[in-house]
Symmetry: C2
Subunit: 111 residues, 2 copies
Amino acid sequence: MPKQAATARPGVRGSRSGRPIMALLDLLGRRWTLRIVWELREGALTSRALRAACDEVSPTILQTRLTELREAGFVELTDDGYGLTALGRELFATFTPLNRFAERWSRQAGS
Amino acid sequence: MPKQAATARPGVRGSRSGRPIMALLDLLGRRWTLRIVWELREGALTSRALRAACDEVSPTILQTRLTELREAGFVELTDDGYGLTALGRELFATFTPLNRFAERWSRQAGS
DNA sequence: GCGTGTCGCTACATTAAATGTAGCAACTGG
DNA sequence: CCAGTTGCTACATTTAATGTAGCGACACGC
């Protein structure tokens, strides 16, 4: 079991096993990534509107994440601003159950 | 649209809206959190085994994440080591579709 | 009851990432 | 020409993650 990178996509940690889920978990496990996808769920937003939606993230990291998400094929820049691609909407769909879970969680383990 | 914190749980960013999903997204959007839950999917692991599974994460951050996950009620420390709670297994179940999606993604947008 | 080995966990110095503020070039109206 | 927007970048500061080492506690064999 070699320790060095195998087919890992560039810049994606935690994917040494070659399992795509690792690359995805790594990508989504970066700060604001999940949030960005979440905020785009209802349609495209301009970069500034998205920034506002994301509680005024620094534009630096917003751009970084948007670039990553565009390279991953989840987000695209259109005339309406940034929006989810078909693939991105699929991704979002996979964590729809998460929303429901979050509601239950907040009641159960809630502060 | 108030800018200050509402019901945000302590130490959890991005939850100013009071929506639990934000708190959850924030928690899961921290480095290694998703991975840890993933690695515990098949049963409990000792902290050291978990560390090995997570590509030798630094114990510092591993402990930090484990503490957060325990406080969130997703992980517990038993005689067998760290394991997912019932709630944690529910959480894991919500991103099972993600695994399938990851496979498709790697073929579609693959490097 | 002294080594060896593991457990969960912590200290701390180093390196990497995120934040916040400011501002650029390009375009679209007045 | 000017004011307002767009996407995006520079850069200094702050925060988070990494890597190495090691602690006290518990379980073995001896």
